[in-house]
Symmetry: C2
Subunit: 208 residues, 2 copies
């Protein structure tokens, strides 16, 4: 009943070959990081294992010491993005008690994160097609947090009534669309401006 590898027990997808030495650890990190860049730049299908390993500075066979398949490295990147984004947002949000202010801060933190990690952003979007389960997990974890926050805020009378699920999806949709502007369309509007306009819409709607 123990847990030798020290993995999170909740994770279904246990990496099949955790490195056991410092060297292995470093190599796996190098491959993951190379995969992030190569897949982020060329997309999953056009990214080859050869490109990834060459970018990582290791031989092609080395890849399969750490990942069972090409899809597995992708899936790990999606998980990583999930962890990082949730951490970033909860960090940026923690000290703020006002819900609408927290909403604004979370949006700003999210957009800054995706601007700093465009490759990860693209990978999560592509997960929809490459690894739907990973995508669902990423998206659900996110939505759950959002929804419960909104529910509390409604209970506290901080915001108006409204189905928290639908609202959570809508707010995530706004964040995603603005992230796409930055990462995919190369939009240069400063993040604070995007946040200001979007947050005004979120807080007050379009009514004159």
């Amino acid at each position: 009943m123990n847990n030798p590898a020290g993995n999170a027990v909740m994770s279904q997808r246990t990496p099949f070959n955790q490195p056991k030495t410092a060297r292995g650890e470093a190599t796996k990190k190098a491959i993951l990081s190379a995969a992030e860049r190569v897949i982020g730049a060329r997309g999953y299908n056009d990214a080859s294992i050869g490109q990834i390993t060459s970018e990582a500075g290791v031989a092609q066979g080395t890849f399969y010491i750490y990942f069972k398949t090409k899809e597995e490295v992708f899936s790990e990147l999606v998980l990583e993005m999930g962890r990082l984004v949730r951490h970033t947002i909860s960090e940026a949000t923690q000290t703020i008690s006002n819900r609408l202010e927290a909403e604004r801060a979370g949006l700003a933190a999210f957009l800054e994160f995706v601007q700093a990690h465009p490759d990860l952003y693209r990978i999560v979007q592509e997960a929809q097609f490459v690894d739907p389960d990973a995508y669902r997990e990423y998206y659900s974890a996110f939505a759950d947090g959002y929804r419960s926050g909104l529910s509390e805020a409604v209970a506290d009378g901080e915001i108006s009534e409204g189905d928290p699920d639908t609202r959570a999806w809508a707010l995530m949709g706004i964040a995603r669309a603005l992230g796409e502007q930055i990462v995919v369309f190369g939009n240069k509007t400063p993040i604070p401006d995007l946040v200001a306009t979007a947050h005004d819409l979120i807080a007050n709607g379009l009514k004159p």
Copy 2:
């Protein structure tokens, strides 16, 4: 200086082999429709030409009479989706003068369309990775219409001030997120409920 094939001159992507007989027309339609189903269901990469032609009831080689490459059929499907969606929304919106009401009607029409055409919806999303140019075109055409509508409404004092570009992206993000709930996550919330909640958020924001 004439335009023999009668194509729209503005279209960059002229189909290289327009069918010239009724039979050809029917065959091309069959292949397009089969491609929509097969690619929509399995994704671009897992969909093979063989599956598409077999679903269409024609031989494999026939595919290449009408499409130069696998990517070309995909690209045509994205264009088709763009035409259909814009038509559907403008149809649903035309008679409504009140901007916020038009917004609601457009959202409802969009969601009903994607519910009726889940394969096309998925294909447009995947275009982001398979054919970025087609995706950009789809998205831009959409955003342009949105933006100019919002600008007018601001000028008429129908809605509050706010950057029309950012607002257009945000509103499109909401629509996309709700469409994803329906098509990708199989969410059963009735469309009118989704529309009601989302439209209330759009019109009034979250403020209590």
